[in-house]
Amino acid sequence: MATGKALRIQPQTSARAVAISALLLFCLLALPALLSTYWVKVLTAVAIFAVVALGLNLLFGRVGLVSLGQIALLAVGSWIAARLFFLTNMPFPVVLLLTGVLTAAIGTLVGLPALRLSGLHLALITLMFAGVIAIVAPTTNFPNGGSGVLGHTESSSGGLVVRRPGIAESDAAYFRYTVIVAAIMFLLALAHVASKTGRAWAAIRQSEPAALAAGVNTTFYKLYAFTLASFMTGVAGGLYAGYVGRLYSYQFSGARTIDSVTLLATVLMGGIFSLWGAVVAALLQQLLPALLQNWFAFFETNPDFLLVLFGVGVLQVLVTAPEGLVTQLPRDLRNLGRLLSRAVRRVGRSPGSAT
């Protein structure tokens, strides 16, 4: 019976699993050896932002909820992680987990308006949250090993560095550690998407009234999407704290509120219907600026010019390939390959080629 197929592992699925494992091994073993410390650091940021983008990818792509507060949640996650690192001696993975849980609680509160709002209104509310964090962060400062609730000291002797896990103190080892945590987050997302929860999200994205009529508790599943996305962003915040070592408010200041908008743009460009879109989004958000600044002096002096490129990129994707670069690029490359092979065959068949 045809339905029996669902129980068997498809050959495509096995091939994909092998390809993904190979890619993961290449990232873990070869990349740190092949690249300089600078590029390893850039790729560590890519892995961290892939997790942040994954949260938004789930929210927007799977449930249809727009959030412009994800970078603010990253700041919250970083703050919580830094405070926990300085306050306790808990192992790194435990701090990451706890940071994820606490950030999820805050993200769930931010997601409460999503129960009544959607689209532009929800985007505005979450952007306002980002604005609030952009004000609160410089006012309270990030914990740097000081005492008290805020854990911030102005003294010149203060300012401890957030510790990294014992097995990942070097930049290369921390990159590997980050990639593994990011891979776990992607597996977590994949498990949700392929489950009852993922199907409930798909129903909500299609139509909320129809989802209700199909028995889906839309209130619970929408809020749960916010909780999960916030958990992931919190974990990313913990990784970010370990990545930068010292957290400063300018990293998440009012001027950086635009990063939440840029994140949405790159997530759209990457592709919201595939989890790989989050990886492409992180490459656009973190690797592309580094490459452009490396290649062109212009981008070094005008880093915000990238926004113009992103604007054009979003327009291109929305008009020609709403499923994003993750689908468009392979398709266009296939078409190009076909065109080239046809052209080569034509040249081979032409009379002049016989001589």
């Binding site: 019976m1 798909a202 129903a203 009234p209 199909a214």
Partner: protein
């Protein structure tokens, strides 16, 4: 049996349902009326998407309006919408399965329930196909499968044949007619296609401007002078 008494819905100054009282006894019942008569609003009240200002709805002895919207599906109330709601990116199996699992169906019986629904509509061989790859006729049948999977008690079908050519509507009608016997559910069919309604429904109620203007055996209702005037647009004699 569904018993509706003095059901009233108001949207500001508009009254799409005005003290509607009717009974759907068993089998497949029709609900017809011109555009804007209040048919979809009526289904929306039953599914909990619209809250009435007055009136009651009892289904198999239970007060339907007291059940939370999404829990009504678990109770056994299912429906389709005028616009297709099957999710294009998911397979037929997952589309039907999501209704089963969210309507209280057990994980153990999921495969059996979904396969039964797919066999009922005759698409069991296409279970793993994505809905987006299907023809309009097959997509409409998937909507029906989503409405009958598990243990439905009341199935509301809102223009299930919209956009289908005549011969495909006939096939859909044959499927709809078998629902009460196959699943023991009461079916309420809303449609503009008179051949579909008369072919499927033993009794039919007619709404016009939010009021019931006729109710009874379908062949009698379709000949009713008020219905012909209101629904089919017969000119009044001067």
């Amino acid at each position: 049996m569904i018993e509706v008494e003095r059901l009233t819905v108001r949207f500001g100054g508009v009254t799409p349902l005005d003290a509607v009282t009717l009974t759907f006894p068993e089998g497949t019942c029709g609900l017809i009326g011109p555009n804007g008569a209040g048919k979809t609003t009526f289904l929306n009240v039953l599914s909990g998407l619209v809250r009435p200002v007055a009136g009651s709805v009892r289904a198999f002895g239970e007060d339907l309006l007291r059940i939370t919207d999404f829990r009504r599906a678990r109770w056994g109330l299912r429906r389709t919408f005028q616009q297709e709601q099957a999710i294009q990116r998911l397979s037929i199996f997952d589309n039907v399965g999501l209704v089963q699992e969210h309507c209280g169906g057990s994980r153990g019986s999921r495969r059996r329930d979904v396969e039964r629904a797919l066999e009922f509509i005759g698409l069991e061989q296409l279970a793993d196909e994505r809905v987006g790859m299907l023809s309009a006729r097959h997509r409409r049948l998937v909507e029906v499968a989503r409405a009958v999977v598990g243990e439905p008690r009341v199935v509301l079908l809102d223009e299930p044949g919209a956009g289908l050519p005549d011969e495909e509507t006939e096939h859909l009608g044959r499927v709809i007619r078998r629902i009460p016997e196959a699943f023991g559910a009461l079916v309420v069919l809303v449609d503009h296609d008179m051949s579909l309604v008369s072919g499927c429904c033993g009794m039919t109620a007619v709404l016009d401007f939010g009021k019931v203007i006729a109710s009874g055996p379908t062949n009698e209702v379709l000949r009713d002078e008020h219905v012909l005037r209101a629904y089919l647009g017969t000119e009044e004699q001067v």
